[in-house]
């Protein structure tokens, strides 16, 4: 490399000049022909700065290999040199410098949609960790809530109906349906001393039933001989609509004024305190508005 000054037409250029074959060759030829670089730039429509870069050997300042080759070839041809040979030498010189056009196509960033597999896996693991923590924290609390100690005052009445009634599980379901309109069991089911503990003494005296009413009430039941559809109403409101399977028993709840409707009157046995009463009607006949009162049913003859 050496410092050198030379004329490029009207412009005096001073700078570091690389010892490059092609650049020197072109520069020397141009100077020998006495041509102005500005004029050549004008004729070839190549930017003056690019021609200066070629002459100075600053090939990295050229726009790209494809364009640089074209510029060198055009410049060499213009000076009357063998374009192909000059290009060949230029290629040799720029072997190390050659920048290949990188083909990295722009990829749009996904704005929504399915997240990548890694982030999806991360989210699943995070979710599992959160659930595990929650489960571990809340587990003792829930166990305590489930095994609350039963108050002693509720223990005795709870046992009594089970022991006395001996109902099938299906009856319990039917009873639950009608439970909303059924008042809680009175005196006979609750021990006297417990009632005395919870009620004021004067109220106990007035509310306590007479001695004759302490007798257990009549139990009215419907038993299906075959599958039977029944509907129990109180006035206009429907209390129960159910399909009794063969052998199912429905215990009629306490409150009176209930009526029965069935699609097959002959399919039901009416039991009062366990005794079978006269049938409600013939088989496959619809019976409606049958009052569910013990007095209404007559025993079978």
């Amino acid at each position: 490399m050496f410092q050198r000054a030379f004329s490029r037409g009207q412009t005096q250029v001073r700078g570091e000049f690389k010892d490059t074959g092609v650049g020197r060759l072109l520069c020397a030829t141009r100077m020998r022909l006495g041509k102005d670089l500005q004029y050549i730039a004008q004729v070839l429509h190549i930017r003056y700065t690019y021609l200066v870069a070629i002459e100075d050997g600053r090939y990295e300042d050229l726009p790209g290999q494809a364009y640089a080759l074209g510029f060198v070839r055009a410049y060499a041809d213009h000076l009357g040199l063998d374009g192909d040979e000059v290009v060949r030498r230029f290629k040799e010189e720029t072997t190390g410098l050659r920048r290949k056009a990188a083909l990295d196509f722009p990829i749009p960033t996904p704005d929504s949609g399915i997240p990548s597999g890694l982030s999806l896996l991360g989210a699943v693991l995070l979710g599992m960790a959160v659930y595990g923590s929650w489960y571990a924290i809340t587990r003792p609390t829930r166990t305590l809530a489930l095994v609350q100690e039963v108050p002693t005052r509720l223990t005795a009445p709870k046992e009594q109906p089970v022991a006395e009634s001996g109902q099938a599980p299906t009856e319990a379901t039917a009873e639950e349906a009608a439970a909303e309109n059924t008042p809680p069991p009175t005196g006979p089911t609750v021990p006297t001393d417990t009632a005395a503990d919870t009620q004021p003494p004067e109220q106990t005296a007035t509310l306590s039933p007479p001695p004759e009413s302490t007798e257990p009430p009549d139990v009215l039941e419907l038993r299906a001989k075959v599958d039977s559809w029944i509907q129990v109403r109180k006035g206009e409101s429907i209390l129960l609509t159910k399909l009794l399977k063969k052998g199912d028993t429905y215990r009629v709840p306490e409150p009176h004024g209930l009526t029965l409707m069935t699609a097959n009157a002959g399919s039901l046995d009416v039991l009062v305190n366990g005794d079978v009463m006269a049938p409600l009607g013939d088989s496959n006949t619809v019976a409606s508005g049958i009052p569910l009162e013990v007095d209404h049913f007559k025993p079978t003859e």
Partner: protein, 346 residues
């Protein structure tokens, strides 16, 4: 399943299916075949059979007896004869695979940017019928720009003019896509035709396509020489006045005159493309200029004429004849990266 199995036995190929020449690039091997797009068919007992394809068939052009037809199955960059094109592609696939009959390669074929969906489908179906396992299409200007080494993916405008045998593709590319493309049905074939017409009009001599192409390659020039008539060449043909063979001498100046029309059409296409280019991209093109690719770019002084007509720097790509094939080959080699420049008709 079967196609996948045969795929393992095949070499994936990129085909520059040109009007004049077909170049085949094989993955990992580069350009392995460059032959004229000509097929010679012989009629045997009423059935047409392929006699020769490529160089051999080209030598038969215009010299065939009654039962042999030398056909160029592509016209204006698209398939003109479906069955013959299929036979030609089949021949090239078999030649690349050393006549193995199992070959079922993945093929990328380039198509002119101005081709219609029907023309593209015809090219794809021809390749599939020839035995390709899967066919992708790539637009010629994109392939040419990639092959020429232009920075097509950068946010800067690049202009490429690909002058092929049947069409001239002018395109402005940026950010991995074609911003504007114009395809005119002017190319090497039209130049040959212009030379034939000129000689017939001015010398009453009828020359064949082969002779016209030879004249174009030897003394063809986009503009007349500054002084004198330039180089001269002896040409032979049939005298139209008395029907006897005749030989005349034609000059470079005359050929330049004959080529004025197709050259003007190319210049007009470039000017129209520049008019439709966005200002920012136009600024980039003023800076870097236009790159010429394709066989037409080798026409003497075409860069000079374009430079003066547009006022822009014009460069001829390194190895302009192979640019499209190299670009298509690059798309094959880096298929994952360049998938978005490939299309398929199904």
């Amino acid at each position: 399943m079967f196609s996948r199995l045969t795929g393992w036995l095949s070499n994936d190929m990129a085909i520059d299916l040109g009007t004049a020449n077909t170049l085949v690039y094989v993955k990992g091997r580069g350009i392995v075949l460059n032959e004229p797009s000509v097929v010679a068919l012989a009629e045997v007992r009423g059935r047409k059979q392929v006699l020769a394809v490529g160089n051999e068939a080209k030598q038969m052009l215009g010299r065939t007896p009654g039962n042999i037809h030398a056909i160029r199955p592509l016209r204006d960059g698209v398939i003109a004869d479906f069955e013959v094109a299929e036979e030609m592609i089949k021949h090239f696939i078999r030649k690349v695979h050393n006549r193995r009959s199992f070959a079922s390669p993945l093929v990328i074929v380039c198509v002119p940017s101005g081709s219609t969906a029907v023309e593209r489908r015809a090219i794809q179906e021809s390749a599939e019928a020839a035995g390709a396992r899967k066919v992708y299409l790539i637009e010629e200007p994109m392939a040419a720009a990639i092959g020429a080494g232009l920075p097509v993916t950068e946010p800067t405008g690049s202009m490429v003019v690909d002058i092929g045998g049947g069409t001239t593709e002018v395109a402005v590319l940026s950010l991995g896509g074609i911003v504007y493309a114009r395809s005119v049905r002017v190319g090497g074939d039209m130049m040959d035709e212009a030379i034939i017409n000129y000689i017939r009009r001015h010398h009453n001599l009828l020359v064949g396509e082969g002779s016209a192409e030879r004249i174009k390659k030897e003394i063809g020039c986009a503009c007349p020489p500054e002084q004198g008539d330039g180089e001269t060449m002896e040409i032979k043909g049939r005298d139209l006045m008395n029907g006897v063979p005749k030989e005349i001498v034609i000059s470079q100046r005359q050929i330049a005159e004959s080529l004025a029309e197709p050259v003007t059409a190319i210049i007009d296409a470039v000017k129209v493309a520049l008019e439709h280019t966005a200002p920012e991209l136009a600024a980039d093109i003023v800076d870097k200029g236009i790159v010429l690719t394709g066989g037409g770019a080798m026409l003497h002084n075409l860069d000079f004429v374009l430079r003066h007509a547009t006022g822009l720097p014009v460069s001829i790509a390194d190895d302009p004849l192979s640019c499209v094939a190299l670009g298509t080959g690059k798309a094959l080699e880096e298929m994952k990266k360049l998938r978005n420049v490939l299309t398929t008709m199904y």
